[in-house]
Subunit: 187 residues, 2 copies
């Protein structure tokens, strides 16, 4: 179970058994049930979560009550409200579980201390953050330059494994289109 985290880190920096145990010692384990919230708008965001099992989503509720999915996170993904977590502000997003889930979570203080104890972890986090940036930029360009169908096809291609676990309603909300429009696309 912890191997999944180790494997991800080792794709970027090698770790001895001892070092990995050290890494782990900064994390806690959380178990959550479907529909459970782990971050709620207007409340603090103490943790970033590494998903070990299950499926979560972060979403924004706009003034008119519509929800917009910013991110999904299944096994091997990280999730939090970045703005709240890194700037120490209250959440603007909600995060809840689409399936029963288990995560390793860490506070910002612990993350920073981990980087002091094991400096190569800072490089790991920098690489992850960089990869996140690239993905976000591509999503922006996709929103600006592609129509609904093209975005849907791109999503299928990028996340073939995710799509099987998601109702189309949620995919639509991620793509920024209505449920009905998506329904009409998949003939």
């Amino acid at each position: 179970m912890q191997e999944i985290l180790r494997r991800q880190i080792e794709k970027i920096v090698p770790l001895t058994d001892y070092e990995f145990q050290l890494v782990l010692s900064y994390f806690s384990i959380g178990k959550y049930k479907k529909h459970q919230y782990i971050v709620q708008q207007e409340t603090p965001v103490p943790y970033v979560h590494f998903v070990v099992k299950g499926l979560l989503r972060s979403f924004y509720l706009d003034q008119s009550g519509k929800s917009h999915i910013l991110q999904f996170a299944m096994e091997d993904w990280w999730i939090t409200d970045n703005q709240g977590f890194y700037k120490g502000e209250n959440a603007t997003l909600n995060i809840d579980c689409l399936e029963d889930a288990q995560t390793y979570y860490i506070t910002l203080e612990n993350r920073d201390q981990l980087c002091v104890a094991l400096p190569k972890m800072e490089f790991f986090f920098l690489q992850k953050m960089t990869a996140g940036n690239i993905a976000l930029q591509n999503r922006i360009l996709s929103l600006m330059s592609k129509n609904s169908e093209e975005r849907y096809l791109q999503f299928i291609q990028l996340y073939p494994d995710l799509i099987q676990r998601l109702p189309k309603t949620l995919v639509a909300s991620y793509l920024g289109i209505s449920r009905e429009t998506l329904s009409r696309l998949s003939h």
Copy 2:
């Protein structure tokens, strides 16, 4: 001129004079004229640029020939094609100068070596990347949840200094709306 870079770094990590000279030694200075390209689609992306003077933009040309502005960069901002630069791929974006410009630029190898020579710089880059992530996520939510007018007003509010230096055509292209629609907004 170099003070602008020093001030930005020192907002995150303190530097001695010696350390700052060390930092600088990894950068080169580039001067560019209005309309000049510093990154071109389908070619390598050797540098990330810190803008010291002037104004640049990165944009994506889609299949139909429409251009979509991903980012502006004026003094005190960083700019590159992230995907090309960090993954060592050819550019998918173009970057050109909207005004005569001057930058400090650095290769990925030099950045990494700088972080070895002065580890706190890695923390600096991590913080910058994190801030970038937050901004990108907010932009995505804005694209998904706001209409043209709301996005325009938000832009004015976020970048009051930028807007004075930009023709509305380019602002429209950044916001993902047509020139004409933007024109009709500002009554």
